[in-house]
Point group: C2
Chain length 144, copies 2
Amino acid sequence: MTVRRFNAFGWENVPVLSYKEGGPYKDVTRQILFEGAESLPVQWRYFEVQPGGHSTLERHEHIHWVLILRGRGACLVGDEITDIAEHDLIEIAPLQWHQFRAAEDAPLGFLCLVAAERDRPQLPSEDDLAGLRQDAKIADFIRP
Amino acid sequence: MTVRRFNAFGWENVPVLSYKEGGPYKDVTRQILFEGAESLPVQWRYFEVQPGGHSTLERHEHIHWVLILRGRGACLVGDEITDIAEHDLIEIAPLQWHQFRAAEDAPLGFLCLVAAERDRPQLPSEDDLAGLRQDAKIADFIRP
């Protein structure tokens, strides 16, 4: 189908999936908008975090390109915590710890582009967490 | 910079460019949101067509993945003409003729993903146009 219509942050013929099988997270869904073609070997997804929810605190070698499509919240990328809102762009470089949190009173929906072939996310070890928590703002932000 | 903020359909550190150098078009701008990384060899762009404007009628081997970000209009893809509005998804397969037109009273802004390495667009020959115009709806829609 050439055109798939949008309705209420869902799309025709795009199922709403669990965010992921493992890893701690809260109130997140995943939709695959475009799936890696041979000549365009990437996956374009839409994630939605409900108010008060968060994605998994993780890192990996593959990079993320993100555009916020709905709502607002904040993200940790590396050692920066930034408020984010509709249509902001975010680039996550290899091995940067990252986590997205929706506002308490608004969802956070975002487009996220990744390579079709990519490594699995790594969760923080106790040592990683201790390192991250040396920054009080990060200690307060993360939900490991 | 990790986060680039959005403001009025522009982004921090993202210049507004001409749509293209050649080819007939009307009132279209281009912004490159993310530029092909080695591990993610694609380009993610935002195009905006002003009310009454249109992109170039063209085709190419490379595929397009499109998400409408702003406004509304219509598109020709292959032999289908479809009204499109915010957040609709469009996939353009190899060598499908395609053209985007904004509504007369609204802009049409869309995200468009392509491979970093891609062939140049082809414009229609007189024979191609004669073929397209055999369908009266397409004859009426296109702006070659």
